[in-house]
C-alpha cells in the first residue's frame, strides 16, 4: 500500500514527468498529436482489408477490430514503455532518491493520454461502420465500461511494475516482452470475436480451452470491451470475474516484485 501512498505524495513530480514525456514526444514529431491516431488508423485499415478481402469478413469488420485493437495497443505500449522506464532514467535513479514506482506509473499515464486520443477512433469508426448487425450500443450497458476500464488499467499497472523491475535485474526481459506481445496479439481477441470462435463448437473439450483462454486477463478485458461496444450487451460476468481474479494475481506479483527489487535498482544499473 505504501507503494501507492508514495505515488500520491509525489503527484507533482509525476505530473511533471508525464508532461515531459508528452511534450518531448510531440516536439520531435512533425504531425504532433495526430501521430497518435495515424499508427492505429493504418493498422486498422490494413487489418480490416485483410479480414474483409481474404477472410470474407463482414463489411463492418473495422468496428469489430477497432474495439480490440485500441485497448490492446494501450496494453502493449504500457508494457514496452514500462520495461525501459527505470533503465531509461538511469542518471535519476542513481543520483536522486525518490519513489521509483513513479517512473513506470508516469509511463502508463503518458500512454493513457494516447489511449484517450485513440478512443475517438473507436467512436468514429463505430459511427461510420456501425456495431454488430441488429445491435445497438447506446444502452445503459455502456456503464460497464467503467469496471472494465478499471480492470484494464489495473492490469497495465500490475504488469507494468513487474516488467519494469524485471528488466533492471534481467536485461533480456525487454526482448521476451516483445515476443510475448506478438503471441498475445493472436491469443487475445483483438482481430476476432472470441464469442463466435467458442460458440461454433459444442464439443466438451472446447470448454477447457475456453477457460484456459480466459486465464489470460487481457482476453477477458478485450472480450468485455467488444461485448459492450460492438454487441451492445453486458460483458459475460463469469469472464469478468475470472479476469478480476487473474488481474489481482498479476497485480500482486507485480507490486511485490517491484517492492522487492526497488532498493537494488541503483546498484544494478551500471
Amino acid at each position: 500500500m505504501q507503494t501507492f501512498k508514495d505515488i500520491y505524495r509525489y503527484r507533482f513530480v509525476l505530473s511533471a514527468l508525464v508532461a515531459k514525456e508528452l511534450k518531448a514526444e510531440y516536439r520531435s514529431m512533425a504531425l504532433g498529436f495526430l501521430w497518435s491516431l495515424l499508427n492505429p488508423l493504418v493498422m486498422l485499415a490494413v487489418l480490416s482489408f485483410v479480414l474483409v478481402w481474404f477472410f470474407r469478413g463482414n463489411w463492418n469488420a473495422p468496428s469489430l477490430v477497432v474495439v480490440g485493437l485500441v485497448p490492446y495497443n494501450f496494453f502493449s505500449y504500457c508494457l514496452s514503455g514500462c520495461s525501459s522506464s527505470i533503465i531509461g532514467n538511469s542518471t535519476l535513479v542513481k543520483h536522486v532518491s525518490f519513489p521509483r514506482q513513479i517512473l513506470p506509473v508516469a509511463m502508463i499515464l503518458n500512454h493513457l493520454v494516447h489511449f484517450a486520443i485513440q478512443s475517438t477512433l473507436i467512436v468514429s469508426v463505430l459511427a461510420v461502420f456501425g456495431p454488430a448487425e441488429g445491435a445497438s450500443v447506446l444502452t445503459p450497458n455502456l456503464l460497464w465500461l467503467v469496471p472494465v476500464f478499471t480492470l484494464h488499467l489495473g492490469l497495465c499497472v500490475g504488469v507494468g511494475l513487474l516488467v519494469a523491475a524485471l528488466n533492471v535485474v534481467y536485461r533480456d526481459t525487454r526482448y521476451i516482452i516483445e515476443s510475448s506481445l506478438q503471441v498475445l496479439f493472436w491469443l487475445s481477441p483483438v482481430l476476432y470475436s472470441a464469442r463466435d470462435a467458442f460458440s461454433a463448437s459444442q464439443k466438451a473439450w472446447v470448454h477447457y480451452v475456453y477457460y484456459g483462454y480466459y486465464m489470460n486477463p487481457l482476453s477477458g478485458v478485450l472480450s468485455s470491451y467488444r461485448a459492450i461496444l460492438y454487441y451492445g450487451t453486458a460483458p459475460n460476468l463469469l469472464i469478468l470475474a475470472m479476469t478480476l481474479v487473474s488481474t489481482l494475481i498479476v497485480g500482486a506479483i507485480g507490486v511485490r516484485a517491484f517492492w522487492v527489487h526497488e532498493r537494488q535498482f541503483a546498484d544494478l544499473i551500471q
Partner: protein, 250 residues
C-alpha cells in the same frame, strides 16, 4: 544534546558480481535445474559507523575503490546497506550529477521545473525561485531554447543553478565540480561556502585535499571499505598523505 543529521551504524555494503550479466531466460532454466549462476560478492564497505552533527561538514577521502562513492550513495538514499542502518534527517541536495533527468527536447525553463520537482520542491516553491535560478545560471535568452541547443557548460550551469536554489539541509558533493569558466567556478565555490555559512551540512567526497581542508571540520578516511581514520581534518589528511607516500615509495 542534539540528534545527529546523518548516522551510520555498523554499515556493510556488498555487491553481487555476476561473471555474466544475468538473463531471465538463462536464470529461469538454471533455477529449474537448480544450478545457480556463479556470483562473487564484493564487499564495498565493512562496518562503517559515524555521526554527523547539525552544521558539521565532513570530507571523505581515500584511494580509488575505497568505497567513497558507495558511502555517498548510501547517504543519498539511492542505495541501501546490506546490513547496518543509515539514518538521515533533513532534505538532501545531491550535487553529484548536474542536470540528472534533463531532457534534450525540452526548454531550459521546462527542465528547471522537472529537475526541481524531482529534487523535492513544490510547484509554488519553484515558481518563487525560478527567477533566481535563471539569474544564477546566466544563460539569458537560452532559457526558452530546447536543451539540445545548449553547450555542455550551459547545461551544467543550469543544473547547478537548480541545486543552489533548492536550499537543502545536507549538500552531497562528489568532487567540487569544475563547471564553466573561472568566473562561474568562483560563483559555485562561493555558493558552496555559502551553504556552509548558512549552517548546512556538507558531505564532500574528494581527492582534492585543499577542498576538504578548506570546507570540512572533520574527515573520514576510507581504506578498502573500512574506516582507516576519522577526526579533525588536518590530522586525518596528514595521516592519509603519509600513508599514500609510503605506498608510492614502497
Amino acid at each position: 544534546m542534539t540528534a545527529p543529521v546523518i548516522k551510520l551504524t555498523n554499515v556493510c555494503k556488498s555487491y553481487r558480481l555476476y561473471k555474466q550479466r544475468p538473463f531471465l531466460a538463462r536464470e529461469f532454466f538454471r533455477m529449474l535445474l537448480q544450478r545457480p549462476s556463479a556470483v562473487d560478492v564484493h564487499h564495498a564497505l565493512t562496518d562503517v559507523s559515524f555521526e554527523v552533527m547539525p552544521g558539521e561538514s565532513v570530507g571523505v577521502l581515500g584511494r580509488n575503490g575505497a568505497g567513497k562513492s558507495t558511502l555517498l550513495s548510501l547517504v543519498a538514499k539511492t542505495s541501501y546497506p546490506t546490513s547496518g542502518t543509515v539514518e538521515v534527517h533533513g532534505s538532501m541536495g545531491p550535487l553529484l550529477e548536474l542536470g540528472a533527468g534533463f531532457h534534450p527536447d525540452l526548454s531550459g525553463h521546462e527542465n528547471v521545473f522537472l529537475n526541481a520537482a524531482i529534487l523535492g520542491l513544490t510547484r509554488s516553491e519553484i515558481e518563487d525561485r525560478f527567477d533566481a535560478i535563471a539569474d544564477f545560471a546566466e544563460i539569458g535568452e537560452f532559457m526558452d531554447a530546447p536543451l539540445h541547443c545548449y553547450s555542455t557548460g550551459m547545461r551544467a550551469r543550469l543544473g547547478f543553478a537548480v541545486i543552489a536554489q533548492v536550499d537543502p539541509d545536507i549538500v552531497l558533493i562528489d568532487e567540487i565540480l569544475a563547471v564553466g569558466d573561472a568566473q562561474f567556478q568562483a560563483k559555485c565555490n562561493k555558493t558552496i561556502s555559502g551553504f556552509k555559512e548558512a549552517g548546512k551540512n556538507l558531505f564532500l567526497v574528494s581527492h582534492n585535499m585543499s577542498d576538504i581542508s578548506r570546507l570540512c571540520e572533520r574527515a573520514i578516511w576510507l581504506e578498502r571499505g573500512r574506516v582507516a581514520g576519522a577526526g579533525p581534518t588536518d590530522e586525518v589528511i596528514s595521516n592519509y598523505m603519509e600513508y599514500t607516500r609510503g605506498l608510492s615509495v614502497g
